[in-house]
């Protein structure tokens, strides 16, 4: 038999050597940057300046920098989780790699309040380099699409914080590439992107800093090869402002002024195609639909085991 121990909740800490930071889930960008920045580190997956981190995670499993670092669930290594009746449980670890038990961490991170809420997160931090630049390639949409595919096919893709197609709203068609690198490497990045721009007849300009788009109203998860078509459909047919995270196959859709019903209608129009490839949609404004059998039964069992209402 196992020897039982007490609940081992995380206490707030920062470990600069391991690059992990434990802080309240409600912390915002300023607080996270302040704590990580003291040690030359950063948490790259922030996509909204004002929103608490837990709201950002709930709004989308991905941020633009997920191209380079993966989704939130690969960058949150542990958390203190509060069940609906107030019980608090440690989920996950403070080390970056674990196969100890079932992966409730990744499961719960995607459940947005249905089985409780995060109280504290343990974040995986990365070295913060001194130069942050965002490059914009503009031109013919077909050529932009080819340029994006060209970037994705090279091993440069691992070194860009994000490679995003932007369409609709105030955007004209453009390809956005974000870079965080040591100063001495800037020319290499610029050289590569200038080459891509020249090859495809696109203009290239840049601005300092990394993109911060805000929390999307609708998130579409599809596979990378169909992403450009979905972006085009959403921006063309529904007038939505879209940020397509090319490598992740994720579209962040911004629909200011739309009510939950109309967001739901847009998403449901895409649903059959998404489900066919194992994709999905979610919106912070829309409650998820009730599950079908047999999922209802699985959820029922889980709730019973966890003593949840």
């Amino acid at each position: 038999m196992s020897v039982l121990t007490e609940e081992r909740l995380f206490e707030p800490f920062i470990d600069a050597t391991d690059g992990v930071l434990c802080l309240p889930a409600g912390s915002d960008e300023a607080e996270i940057e302040r704590l990580a920045g003291l040690h030359g580190l950063r948490f790259p997956l922030l996509h909204d300046r004002g929103a608490p981190l837990c709201d950002q995670v709930a709004a989308s499993p991905f941020a633009p920098a997920s191209s380079r670092f993966g989704p939130y669930c690969d960058n949150i290594t542990g958390m203190n989780w509060e069940l609906p009746d107030g019980r608090r449980v440690r989920i996950g670890e403070r080390v970056v790699k674990s196969t100890t038990g079932y992966d409730l961490l990744r499961f719960l991170l995607g459940t947005v309040g249905r089985y409780g809420r995060p109280v504290d997160y343990v974040l995986r931090l990365r070295p913060a380099c001194e130069e942050s630049q965002t490059f914009f390639l503009r031109g013919d949409p077909v050529l932009l699409r080819e340029a994006a595919a060209g970037i994705l096919r090279t091993s440069w893709i691992h070194w860009f914080d994000s490679v995003d197609v932007l369409e609709g709203g105030e955007f004209s068609s453009l390809l956005r590439v974000a870079v965080n690198c040591p100063a001495e490497e800037c020319d290499a990045y610029l050289g590569f992107l200038s080459g891509i721009a020249a090859r495809h007849g696109l203009s290239l300009d840049q601005s300092p800093g990394l993109p911060m788009d805000g929390c999307p109203d609708l998130v579409i998860k599809t596979s990378p090869e169909v992403l450009p078509d979905i972006v085009q459909l959403l921006s063309g047919e529904y007038g939505a402002k879209c940020v397509g995270l090319c490598y992740c196959g994720v579209v962040h859709v911004f629909l200011p002024g739309q009510n939950p019903d109309s967001i739901c209608r847009i998403a449901q129009a895409l649903e059959p195609g998404l489900h066919a490839v194992g994709g999905d949609w979610s919106s912070r404004h829309v409650m998820p639909v009730n599950p079908d059998s047999p999922e209802t039964e699985w959820i029922g069992k889980l709730k019973k085991e966890w003593n949840l209402p």
Partner: protein
Amino acid sequence: MIPSSQYLRKHLRRTVPHSRVLTSPAQLTGYASDGLGYKSFLPDAVVIPADAEELIKVILALKGIPICMRGAGTSLSGGPVAAQGGVVIHTSRLRAIRRICPEGFWCEVECGVNLDQLDQALAPYGLCYPPDPSSGQVCTIGGNVASNAGGAHCFRYGVTGNYVLGVEVVLPDGTLHCFGGPAGGRGRWREDWKKLMVGSEGTLGAFTRFWLRLTPRAEKAWTFSATYASLEATERAVHGLVRHPAFPVAIELMDPRAVALVESSPMAMGLPENRFMIVTEIDGPADLVDLRAESVAEVLRSAGSTDVQFGDNPEDRKNLFRARKAIGGLLGQMSPDYVVQDAVIPKRALAEILRLIYDESDRAGLPVVTVMHAGDGNLHPNFVFDSGKPEELEKIEVISKKLMKQVIAVGGTLSGEHGIGNDKCDYMGMVFGPEALRLQLSVPMIFNPSHAFNPLKVFPERRFVP
């Protein structure tokens, strides 16, 4: 009560041709253990289904009998063995790479595909599937997903779970479900059930098919080696590397005994005696990695190494990693048995935990050879012993328990990439408090409440009750 082998043979041959139902003791012996060789459990039968359809029929036919899914059997934690008797289902016939989609960076594979087979198929597309456990030549994707396998290059690229977009699984009731798919989302489900499937060690169902994320192959790699006289200097080097903006893909540590093993093998490289060795690597576009190489070498030098070597010759790189990955096999020279632990520790505790390992090993008179995915803090101390000597087995258990206790005390965890299997079950109570343990045990209750699939694994409470 599990039926006899003779009964199982008759029963299973109604579903599967007789050549793929194994019941003779000589045949069963090959399935009695995994890489944790000293703990063996003879199954009552082994069945090799031809495809997913046949697998479903087999599972339905085995209602009321413990089932253990098995790929190549290279697990190091006592995972794919029939710990409570019953039938082992071997997935060696499900070996098709069904589709590679280079534009979408995904592929669809059956569970018995092995890593080298996949790598060879991806090479012409300039793509790769990064997880690289040392057993890559033989281990299967199914086993890798079940144990959420890692490998040397996971420090930057991540482990298996980071690449699983979708899982097709047969649940114990014989129903077949897809969780996710090429897009890697939830699919038609409200919850993302595949997150629970990855790393579930065969305790929730039988995997048949996966959709895996792919990534472009690195254009160029620089590989570095450096040796150190002390643990403290080695730890300094690791700390310097993990913070380096070149983001090394791998940071591997070999202790003096591991270095000596390599030097006594045909892979000898003329490495110095009594030194800790670090092997690290950066990769990416040539324009970037060429800029970074010298600064990585400087990190290794500034930690105290006077013999830093680095280069971009692919053949040298291959040799270096081949030597590192061969250490498990070379241990056979030292003793009949070995047990490898897989704890993950915060990297600030690296020297402290390694010292504990050496002290305990010296005290017990049992040699230990340690390698480590140091970037991840993932320790692999290999304790060599003779399981034929009960006192040695007892000593191993005492050392393992002490080590795990200290690992937890410094903020680490039991397993980073091997899984718990039946080897580390008894330590789970050190990690999970009563409430967390209850939540953990609820997961198999959703899909496999009778624990028919892989009983006595992960948690000791998981005993099959017909």
